[in-house]
Symmetry: C2
Amino acid sequence: MEFHDPPRFPRGFRCAATLCGLKKEGYDLSLFASEVPATAAAVFTRNQVPGAPIIVGRELIRAGRLQAVVVNSKVSNVGTGEEGVRRARAMGAAAAQALGIDESLVLMSSTGVIGVPLPVEKIEVALPALAESLQEDPMVGARGIMTTDTHPKALSVSAGAATITVVAKGSGMIEPNMATMLAYVFTDAEVEASALDRILRDVVDDTFNMLSVDTDTSTSDTCAVLANGLAGPVDEEVFTAALREVCVAMTETMARDGEGAHAMVRVTVTGAENGGEARVVAKSLVNSPLVKTMVFGGDPNVGRILMAVGKCFACRVDPGRIGASICGIPVLDRGVRTSFDEAAVRELLEGDPVDITVDLGLGGGSARAWGCDLTPGYIEENAAYYSS
Amino acid sequence: MEFHDPPRFPRGFRCAATLCGLKKEGYDLSLFASEVPATAAAVFTRNQVPGAPIIVGRELIRAGRLQAVVVNSKVSNVGTGEEGVRRARAMGAAAAQALGIDESLVLMSSTGVIGVPLPVEKIEVALPALAESLQEDPMVGARGIMTTDTHPKALSVSAGAATITVVAKGSGMIEPNMATMLAYVFTDAEVEASALDRILRDVVDDTFNMLSVDTDTSTSDTCAVLANGLAGPVDEEVFTAALREVCVAMTETMARDGEGAHAMVRVTVTGAENGGEARVVAKSLVNSPLVKTMVFGGDPNVGRILMAVGKCFACRVDPGRIGASICGIPVLDRGVRTSFDEAAVRELLEGDPVDITVDLGLGGGSARAWGCDLTPGYIEENAAYYSS
């Protein structure tokens, strides 16, 4: 499977972006719309202080039907109480009115600073013109949803006669449950809503949910899929495989653009007691500040891999069976550091991606997780985020 | 209760430190000894890839009796297999021989790089002279156990007629279970071994185990207590209160000296469903990179407090009841940002300590956790640690 270059929308989908005044420059509002209603599914953050759009989105998605998504950046509309919920609904209603569709068909998302009121009137004023300017390039919509992302993110791939396009943002506050990120999947495949929900959860579980930039779970995470059916039915296996591939690629794109990141870190764990424990160990490695700084420093302080495995208290671990490699070079064997070529590993740590594989030598459980190195850039970004 | 200034040892305890050649400069080997055998208790890391000294130490402590502790820095003797265990025992035996006591009475610890062999022969050569140079200042012993600590750490306090002295190191790889740290408690109080074990676990649980610098649990964490009885029995409540106070103070000393830290962050959670949930929420805040960078940036991006509470998936959280304050200034009320004085909070965030209190408004559970801000210094330190 190859990704379309440049990415393109499936039949019937268009988008637009504008600067409505939440930010000082760039884009801060995007609208995505299908020309016909689509079946839809979505997963949201597990954070217990969810944003107002999450509260409204969970209600909306029950019907399994959407036609548009409206997203603003800069202000997340989280920690804003009842008034926040009212403004989220007003944002959706304004988009629906501008598009001439029912407001139950518009999902809204907000991303940005937590705890400040959403200036929804700026969004309401901007929406009629935005709905008039819908066009074919998904990268335009990707621009309006960026926060600390260094570039807009859209990918598309074929799935039989259909196309699957993912438009996403995500750079920090990423420990998906769902990921601290927004991802919208558009397809012209015809997929029934309950199947779409099942497929989405299955794919997200192994892709976006295995991405972590900083262990902080956002209050706004959303991944929604809209299937407008204009390309007719697609074999479920073909559709699922294509969706998985494009979501893996988007996960890697986000990992590589993690706040301040200089490299994507991809951790593959095998030989775990079971799949669940493999996931825990893989996440422990991508989340360990000492593993992340080892990668940034290009310094093969590989004992930190043992530490990060050993701190998975609830998993079965036998130190004498742990093996590990960095970009294919074995660095640990039966729990002991090998006499590897340090210069070679140093060079590989400076490349991208940095692949760390760990074999626990116990059973058949395996998993993969994605993250990035930890650099002064992450701190600069987040120490100054609110004021900027 | 006041701490002794300078700190001093209880009756019968002495220590010495030297440079035996593991490091290039400074001190890398410390010996602590009592003139008579002491009752003893210890808690060790929960990391499942424990260092060789932990494996041996768990055996030794079963007898509830110790007379000396020998500690090297620079090399942790972790991930070194059976040979590592042999070298840990050799290190203890060499110290026992130098002191003329049984080797079952010597606890050994090693801290430093993981996964490289311990040059134990350098330690063996140095021990006779070290045992000859025992002296009265606990700060001397504190110097030999430092890794990335910026200063040696010892504190002492009176407990009735007895003295309690804690000598510790700890700067990074700190998420105590036990803490990524070494702490040795010396007292001349007479305390029976089983009571000592119970009191130590109780106090450590609320002090060192509530400290986190970076979520990474060391493979070498050790907290041991030696009570040589030379001051006779002390009322248990008095002893426990004094031990708690000195351990809180040492926890704060270590938090403040967290790698790269510019300030100690102290999080107090009240109103949780129960004490266990309060601990989880308090730890979530001290461990959140986005809360830590908010403190470093001096930027009152207080919505991140909501995020860090909300990602405690297994705890009861009601967003509409969450209140929070920073250094006494209320910043969140019933889940919504208050209209606080931003300039005042900015100024407080630049001070030390930074006290964050969160009230969940649900029940009677409370807890306190300690950590520090996240700065570029942490990354510099850990990106270059192994090579340095």
